[in-house]
Amino acid sequence: MLSFSQDCKHTFSGKVMDLHDSSILLGASVHIKEINKTVSTNPQGEFIFKNLCSGTYTVTVFHYECEPLTKQITINQEHISEVFKLEHHIEELEKVEINGNKRKVFQKKSALSTTVINKENLQQRKETSLAKSLEHVAGVSTISIGSGQAKPTIRGFGFNRVVVVQNGIKHEAQQWGADHGLEIDQNAVEHIEIYKGPLSLLVGSDAIGGVINIKEVSIPKKNSFGGNVSLIGRTNNDLVGLSTFLSGRKEHWFFKNTITANSYGDFKVPTDKILYNGYVFDLHNHQLRNTAGRVLNISGTIGYTKDDFLNRTIISNVNEENGFFANAHGLEVIKSQIDYDKSSRDIDLPKHKLNHFKITNETEIHKENYTLRINAGFQNNARQELSEPSEHGYMPKPTSSLEREFNKNTYSLNVFADLYTNSKHKLKFGVNSEFQDNSIGGWGYIIPAYHRFSAGAFVYDKIEISPKFYLHTGIRYDYGTLKTEQYQDWFLSPVNENGTIKEEYLIRATAKDFKFGDFSASFGGVYDLKNQMFKFNLGKSFRMPLANELTSDGVNYHMYRYELGNADLKAEESYQVDLEYSYTKPKFNVAVSPFVNYFPNYIYLNPTSDYYEALQIYKFQEAEVFRFGGEITSSFLLTEKLFLNTSVEYIYARQLSGAKKGFTLPFSPPLSGIIGANYTLKNYKYFKNTKFELDWRFTAKQNEIVPPESPTDGYTVGNFTMSTSLYKKDKKWADVYFRVNNILDTKYFNHTSFYRIIEVPEPGRNFSLEVRIPF
């Protein structure tokens, strides 16, 4: 038994609040230098240190959106209590974007290159989808499908090589599909952390390219009720939208609710003709026919918080329907009898419908020596792809328009614990488990029904070498099983057996069991000088192969090719070295973040020179891959009101072995950069916080291609944003956001757009206006 002298039984407790409105700052941490211990605040903003000896202590409070605050506290009686009020200016955050001093606290949390985006940042840059709204972050781009849908990519990786985590649970949909978009309502998002590098250590399989971590971070104030209504209109696709937000709290119970409804028409491109594969598609009114859609998203939170306990249940439902370009969906050219031009708002075939339902429950228990977090989740992703039935090969004309249907149920349970000790170690433990049940339907076949189970456990340690130098290191093991079901054609095909032709229902996939096990690890450090920060990280990540990569054996009608899986694939592994150097002065900052990446077995869908039933065979194969690249970002505060920011991103990728040795990887983003200027006006009468922002993107030509891609020319395109808050008698009446995209109505192609392969340019000039009225 340890025994303490009478002097060492003191308790120091306190509360961390916002200086301006005394609201609680969630996720703050409190550090005592002398005992070298850091604790995090509970959901009421409170913290406690026990068993302190009398004396004077140096206490520093950190919050990722605030300047750290240090106080000398003298402990001379049994209970000492202190309130810390931190300067918390949301508006100023945007100014010193990404690498500002205040972000240092967040930056130090990870040895990877990271970016944090809050609700206001997102609002300022709001585009047609969440992924599009993140595109201004250096290193992030999108694979978009028309105007309503996009999925994010980090440093050239998307699909199942980037993980989106929402409220502690991995978002699970049909990420592998090229025409899939991220099913998350951006109006309900409060906080996003982007990790540009391997993070399998913390989230498991798939986090090879990076992680987008979406969190709910705020808790309404006690006895409050409020919300806002926002109306939005866009000219390019004639979008009209409504979004409402409500939140409130009694003593311990709180709730939030967001409803978003959008309806949009066909989007317009700055051309009247599309030339593809020798065909000419004349466009009516510059409209890309049948790209209209509609969205209805509902999400809500019910939570309970008392003392050191927080529990919240978040329920969301994303429902979308949108059409695909009628003349060519994928590589196939379609001539239909449907009169697509009769209305620009109707959604005809081909189209997709999807519904993503998600319920997550999060429990947080904050104690003096640990924080425990339990996340449980269920999500259902139901997706239907509908197209005009037509006979193909030996397949007769199907009777329905339901080409493919995917229904996926995912059950997740994760437990994390942070330990706060008096030593130089801050430990984190975690266990993740997930079960997926995937069923299929429709007349088109590409992926069998399957069940997947995975579980992993990790330990992560943040070691203080000196107050300026921290090491981050950890190790993890995952185990997974995948059971695929048999799939048999519903129509007969002729089969040549020893010279006699027989008609058979072909078996496309046989039932198989797969098992995977893999280590992930990470070793990194953060060295923090006054104006400079240096980060390094060596990470190993992995990805369990997908059912289609292992077992595909069928026609992908969207891409008009025959896809063949490979049952011998092992779990994909990736090794990456990340560096980041940042230099920060009050009026200037620059950050350089290069990386080098190696895959011994990148899983690649290789277009072969062979045919199966007159369709080109694409085979999943393994290749060694080497990549490097990175981003440089900087900003200059020219005057109090004007600042400039620039960023450049670049990726180089090479396949070092396999059938496409010497080639790059598919969807390689070209060299690209942004120059932006941001001007803040003085408050004038009813207008406060008025800002003008002009940014111009310069993108180089992309010659780095693999079949069936073609080179994409470079382009420059500009966007303009004006935002202001309207006040009436010192009370905010409305926030107004006005935005112009593609100012010069430039015709350009995005190398990573789904429609790029059929020569469809990006949307033309767009004006959008959003008015948000709080109450």
Partner: protein, 158 residues
């Protein structure tokens, strides 16, 4: 000037990045070509062939490197579902439902690492199939996996 310590390292790194991006690999970035536009090529756009007869497919294939395989896909266009050759607009018969449409799907590997190849192939049109509008589509790959497609509208008549 201790604080400038890292800067040279990064300049070196950036120069390294820039230098590496220039290396030119000797990779094939060219699609093969299908030529149907010469005297003896067949079928020609809008040609009418009789069922119960045979015809000879003939074209010219070429590639900058090595030809891979080719495939022939003959399928009906009774529903006007695809629209293939834009150089010539053929008169299409009214839309109808297929009863016993002609389906011809064959793949051929081009052996011998050839840069040029002139395929000749005898295709038998059975007696008992539906007459009407058809598409004759040729697909050609090179060894790298680049594909070129060419389709021709034609009619099968009695």
């Amino acid at each position: 000037m201790k604080k400038l310590k890292f800067t040279p390292i990064f300049f070196v790194l950036m120069i390294f990045l820039a230098a590496c991006s220039d290396d030119e690999d000797d990779i094939d970035q060219t699609n093969p070509t299908i030529d149907f536009d010469f005297e003896s090529s067949f079928p020609k756009p809008c040609v009418v062939v009789q069922r119960g007869t045979t015809f000879n497919f003939h074209a010219k294939f070429s590639d900058n490197d090595v030809l891979g395989s080719y495939a022939i896909d003959i399928h009906n266009n009774f529903d006007h579902h695809t629209h293939d050759n834009y150089d010539v607009q053929c008169d299409l018969s009214p839309i109808k439902a297929p009863v016993n449409p002609f389906i011809y799907i064959q793949n051929f590997t081009i052996e011998g690492d050839l840069k040029e190849y002139q395929p000749t192939l005898e295709i038998v049109i059975p007696d008992a199939i539906d007459v009407g509008d058809y598409h004759f589509e040729v697909r050609l790959t090179d060894k790298t996996g680049w594909q070129t497609r060419h389709a021709i509208d034609f009619k099968i008549a009695d």
